[in-house]
C-alpha cells in the first residue's frame, strides 16, 4: 500500500472575510464605544448629553430671525409664524455687528482699523513663519507707528518724530561704540533718545505740523470699542511688554545682586496681584504717581498698566527659554571672547526667544481674554458694548444672542492662535536636545 493521501487540494482558497463584528465600522464601534460596561455607560451618557444640548440649541439658533428692528418685532414675527418654541433673535447681530467690532469708531473710517489689522498681519508674518521673506521685517519696524497713526489719526509728524528717537538710539549704539566703548554706547543709546523725547520731540513735531500740515481726521480714544479695542490693547500690551519682559528675564537670570533682586520683586509683585486690581490702580491711583497737572486718557493708562502686567508674565516665559538652553551655549559664547551683551544678542537670545514663542503666544491669548476686564473701569470692550446695546429700548432684554456672538469671536481668535502655537511646538520639537 502506498501511503498516498486520499485528497490533496491543488488550488489555494481565498481568505475568508473576517466576521462582521471584526471589521469596518462595526469593529470600530465595538472597540471604541462599547468595549466594556464602563465604556458603554459613558457612551450612552455622552450621546444623551449631546442630544440634549443639540435639541435645545439647534432649533433655537437655526430658526433664528435675522430681519427685525427690535426685540418686540422679533417676538411678533415668531408668534406670527406659528413656531411653538422660542427662537433666537439674530437681528440684533445684523443690526449692531459693526458696533461690537468697532465700537463707536466713525463708520466712514472703518477702513483705517482694517488696514492697520492687515498691516499688523504682514508685520508679524516674518516673526511667526520663517518661510516669509525677510524684507517684511521693514514693515515690522514701521508697523507700530503706522498703526498708531491709522487708528488715532491726526498729524503724521507725531509718530514720525517719535520713530526718529529710535533711529537716533540705534545710530548712537552703532557709531558710538568706537569712541565711547560698548558700555558707554549702550547707556548712550538709552539716555540720548530719552532726552530727545522729553525735550526735543514735542516742540519739533509742533513746528513740523505747523509748517507742513499733513494728517488725517483724528479719532479720540473714547470712540474706540468692541473687538477693535480688545485687539489694540492686547497687541499694544504684548508688543511693548516684549522688550521690557526680555530685560526683566535677563535681570532675573543675572548674577548682579541688586538687579536680580529688583527684577524678582517687580515680577512677583505684578504676578501676585490680579489684573483687575492693577486696572483700578490705573484708573484711581495713577495720578498720585505723576507730577501734578499731568492727565492723560484712560485708554493710554490701561495700555501702560497692561504692558507692565504682561511684561512680568513675558519675563517668566523668556526666563523659561533662557533656562532651557544648554549650559554649553553660554560657555561657548564666553570662550569665543564675546562680552555679555554680544553673547546675549548673537547667541543666547535668538535661541531662547525662538523656543519661548509658544509661551509668548499663550501669554497673548491670556492677555487678549483679559482685555474684557476693562469694562469695569468704563471702557467699551465687547461685553461693555453688549450692556450698551441692551440699554437701548429696542434691544432691552436680549442676552444669549450677544453672548454667543462675542464668545464665538473670542473663540475663533484664541483657538486659531493656540493651534498656531501647537503647530510651532511640533515644528520646534526636533526630537533631540
Amino acid at each position: 500500500m502506498t501511503n498516498t493521501p486520499s485528497f490533496v487540494r491543488t488550488q489555494m482558497l481565498d481568505p475568508k472575510d473576517p466576521p462582521i463584528t471584526e471589521k469596518g465600522a462595526v469593529k470600530w464601534i465595538r472597540e471604541n464605544l462599547f468595549s466594556g460596561w464602563l465604556n458603554t455607560i459613558l457612551t450612552i451618557v455622552s450621546l444623551y448629553v449631546i442630544y440634549w444640548v443639540l435639541a435645545h440649541i439647534l432649533p433655537w439658533s437655526v430658526g433664528g430671525i435675522w430681519n427685525a428692528e427690535s426685540l418686540t418685532e422679533c417676538r411678533e414675527i415668531r408668534d406670527a409664524s406659528g413656531i411653538g418654541y422660542d427662537v433666537a433673535c439674530w437681528a440684533v447681530i445684523a443690526d449692531r455687528w459693526h458696533q461690537l467690532l468697532f465700537g463707536f469708531y466713525p463708520s466712514e473710517l472703518y477702513w483705517r482699523p482694517i488696514l492697520a489689522l492687515i498691516l499688523f498681519g504682514v508685520a508679524i508674518a516674518p516673526i511667526l513663519f520663517d518661510t516669509a521673506p525677510r524684507k517684511l521685517l521693514i514693515v515690522t519696524a514701521i508697523m507700530p507707528f503706522a498703526a498708531y497713526w491709522l487708528l488715532w489719526g491726526g498729524t503724521i509728524w507725531g509718530p514720525l518724530v517719535t520713530a526718529l528717537g529710535f533711529v537716533i538710539g540705534w545710530a548712537v549704539l552703532t557709531y558710538g561704540a568706537a569712541t565711547l566703548g560698548a558700555l558707554g554706547a549702550t547707556i548712550g543709546a538709552i539716555v540720548v533718545p530719552l532726552l530727545y523725547w522729553l525735550l526735543v520731540a514735542g516742540p519739533l513735531s509742533g513746528i513740523l505740523g505747523a509748517a507742513l500740515p499733513i494728517g488725517i481726521e483724528a479719532v479720540p480714544s473714547d470712540r474706540f470699542g468692541g473687538f477693535m479695542l480688545a485687539i489694540v490693547i492686547g497687541v499694544a500690551g504684548i508688543v511693548m511688554s516684549l522688550p521690557l519682559g526680555i530685560f526683566l528675564a535677563l535681570g532675573r537670570q543675572s548674577d548682579l545682586f541688586i538687579i536680580n533682586k529688583c527684577s524678582v520683586i517687580f515680577i512677583e509683585v505684578i504676578r501676585g496681584v490680579p489684573l483687575i486690581v492693577w486696572l483700578f490702580t490705573a484708573s484711581l491711583l495713577l495720578n498720585y504717581f505723576l507730577p501734578p497737572g499731568t492727565n492723560f486718557d484712560l485708554m493710554l493708562r490701561v495700555i501702560i498698566m497692561v504692558t507692565l502686567f504682561s511684561s512680568a508674565y513675558i519675563a517668566e516665559v523668556v526666563r523659561g527659554g533662557l533656562a532651557a538652553l544648554p549650559r554649553g551655549q553660554y560657555e561657548g559664547a564666553d570662550s569665543l571672547g564675546l562680552d555679555y551683551w554680544q553673547s546675549m544678542q548673537l547667541i543666547i537670545l535668538p535661541q531662547a526667544l525662538k523656543i519661548s514663542i509658544p509661551g509668548i503666544v499663550s501669554t497673548f491669548i491670556g492677555l487678549f481674554k483679559d482685555t474684557t476686564l476693562v469694562v469695569f473701569i468704563g471702557l467699551l470692550d465687547p461685553i461693555g458694548l453688549s450692556n450698551a446695546i441692551r440699554a437701548d429700548s429696542a434691544w432691552n432684554g436680549i442676552y444669549w444672542e450677544l453672548f454667543i456672538f462675542i464668545g464665538l469671536c473670542f473663540f475663533i481668535f484664541c483657538f486659531s492662535m493656540s493651534r498656531y502655537s501647537q503647530w510651532l511646538e511640533r515644528k520646534l520639537n526636533t526630537g533631540h536636545r
Partner: protein, 404 residues
C-alpha cells in the same frame, strides 16, 4: 559693578520721583496717609458673611468679611476645579471616541472664551432659567425641590440643608437677624461645634495614617498584614465623628417654603454659585490639560514594566503611574490655584461681596482713601499668593525626585 551702581541709582531716582509726587499730590488734595479709616463705622450691609457683621461694624471688619468671602469662593473653586479637571483630563485620554471628543470640546471651549463671559453667562442662566420661589407653592406647583425635597433651586439662589446642633457648645453667639437681613451662610453660633468636629476629623485622619504605617511595618517584619486594617482605619475616622455628632444632637435643617421665600437651610446666592461654577469650569479646563500632559509624560515602558512585575492595573496606576505623573502635574497645578484665587476678583461682575468689593470698592468710595485701600488690597492678594505657592512648594519638594 558700574552697571549695578548705575541701575541702583536709577531705581532710587525713580522711587524718589514717585514718592515725591505722591507726597505732593496728597498735600494738594489735603489728604494724609493713615489707616485710621479701618476703625470707623462702615455703614453698609454685606449680603453674605461668614462672621458676625452689621452696618455698624468697622471698615476693617468689612474688609475681613470680604477676605473670608474671597477665600471661601477660592477654596470651593479649587476643590471643584481639581475634581472636574482630573475627570476631564483622564476622560480625554479615554479610548472612547465620543467621550474624548466631548472632553476636547469642553476644554477648548472654556480655554478660549474669556472667564468674564462665562461668569456672566452662568449668572444669567441661574437667574433667568430657574423657577421663582412662588412657583414652588400650591398643590400642583410648577417647580419642585430635588433630592428628596431637600434642595431648592430658585432664581434667588440654591437652598441646601444645613446641619444644626440642638445641644450646641455655643461660640461667638450671633443675634437673630432682625430687619429683613438674611442670616449668614454659616451661622457663627456653631463655630465651636464645627471646630470640635474638624479637630476630631483631622485627628482621625492622622490616627488612620499611623495605623497604616504600623500595618505596613508589621507586614514588612512578619510578612502578614494585620487583619481588618482598612476597617480600623475607617473606624478611627468615623467613630469619634459619629459619636460627637450624636452627642451634640446634630440634625438636618431642611429649607422650606414660608410665604414668598424659602427659609431654613443654607442659602447659596446666585452670585456665589455663578462665580464658583464659572471659576471651577474655567480652571478645570486648564487643569484637565495639565493632568493629561502629566499622564502622557510617564513613558509606556513604566506601565509595561509594572505589568511584567505582575501588578494589577489599579495597583500600577496607584504605585507606578500616579506618583510619577504627580511630579509633572503639581507645579503647574499650583499656578492654576493661584490664578483661580486671583480670578475670584471678577466677583465684581455678579456683585459677589469679595474683598475687592468691600475693601477695594465700597470702603474706598465712602472714605476716599484710594491709596491706602488699594495698597491693602494688593498686599492681601500678594500675601495670599505667596502663602499658597509657599505651601505648595513645600509639598512639591516632598514629592520631588530625590536626585544625587
Amino acid at each position: 559693578m558700574t552697571i549695578q551702581v548705575v541701575a541702583f541709582a536709577l531705581i532710587l531716582a525713580a522711587i524718589w520721583f514717585l514718592g515725591r509726587n505722591i507726597v505732593h499730590n496728597l498735600e494738594e488734595l489735603g489728604k494724609d496717609f493713615n489707616f485710621a479709616f479701618l476703625n470707623s463705622r462702615a455703614g453698609y450691609d454685606i449680603n453674605q458673611r461668614l462672621i458676625e457683621y452689621s452696618n455698624d461694624s468697622t471698615h476693617g471688619r468689612a474688609a475681613l468679611v470680604g477676605i473670608l468671602n474671597t477665600l471661601l469662593v477660592a477654596f470651593l473653586g479649587c476643590i471643584l476645579a481639581t475634581i472636574l479637571g482630573v475627570i476631564a483630563g483622564v476622560l480625554r485620554l479615554s479610548k472612547n471616541w465620543i467621550v474624548g471628543r466631548l472632553m476636547t470640546v469642553y476644554v477648548e471651549g472654556f480655554r478660549n472664551i474669556p472667564l468674564l463671559l462665562w461668569i456672566i453667562l452662568i449668572f444669567a442662566v441661574m437667574t433667568e432659567a430657574t423657577p421663582q420661589p412662588r412657583d414652588f407653592r400650591g398643590e400642583d406647583a410648577e417647580a419642585s425641590m430635588i433630592l428628596g425635597d431637600s434642595v431648592a433651586v430658585t432664581n434667588r439662589g440654591i437652598y441646601v440643608p444645613n446641619v444644626v446642633f440642638t445641644r450646641s457648645l455655643g461660640g461667638n453667639e450671633m443675634t437673630e437677624a432682625a430687619d429683613g437681613v438674611e442670616a449668614a451662610i454659616i451661622p457663627s453660633a456653631v463655630a465651636m461645634d464645627w471646630l470640635l468636629v474638624l479637630v476630631l476629623l483631622v485627628g482621625g485622619v492622622l490616627a488612620s495614617k499611623a495605623i497604616g504605617r504600623w500595618a505596613t511595618k508589621t507586614q514588612e517584619a512578619t510578612g502578614i498584614r494585620p487583619p481588618a486594617t482598612l476597617w480600623m482605619q475607617i473606624g478611627v475616622i468615623l467613630g469619634p465623628f459619629v459619636l460627637v455628632m450624636i452627642a451634640l444632637g446634630a440634625t438636618l435643617d431642611l429649607p422650606e417654603l414660608r410665604g414668598f421665600n424659602f427659609s431654613g437651610g443654607i442659602h447659596m446666592r446666585n452670585s456665589l454659585i455663578a462665580l464658583w461654577f464659572a471659576l471651577s469650569l474655567y480652571t478645570g479646563a486648564f487643569i484637565a490639560e495639565i493632568v493629561r500632559a502629566g499622564i502622557l509624560a510617564v513613558s509606556r515602558g513604566q506601565t509595561e514594566a509594572a505589568f511584567a512585575l505582575g501588578l494589577r492595573p489599579n495597583r500600577t496606576m496607584n504605585l507606578v503611574i500616579l506618583p510619577q505623573a504627580m511630579r509633572v502635574i503639581i507645579p503647574p497645578l499650583i499656578s492654576q490655584y493661584l490664578n483661580l484665587t486671583k480670578n475670584s476678583s471678577l466677583a465684581i461682575a455678579v456683585g459677589y461681596m469679595d474683598v475687592r468689593s468691600t475693601l477695594g470698592g465700597i470702603t474706598i468710595n465712602q472714605t476716599g482713601r484710594e491709596l491706602e485701600g488699594m495698597l491693602l488690597l494688593g498686599l492681601f492678594y500678594l500675601v495670599t499668593s505667596l502663602v499658597i505657592s509657599g505651601a505648595m512648594n513645600i509639598y512639591n519638594n516632598s514629592v520631588k525626585l530625590k536626585e544625587r
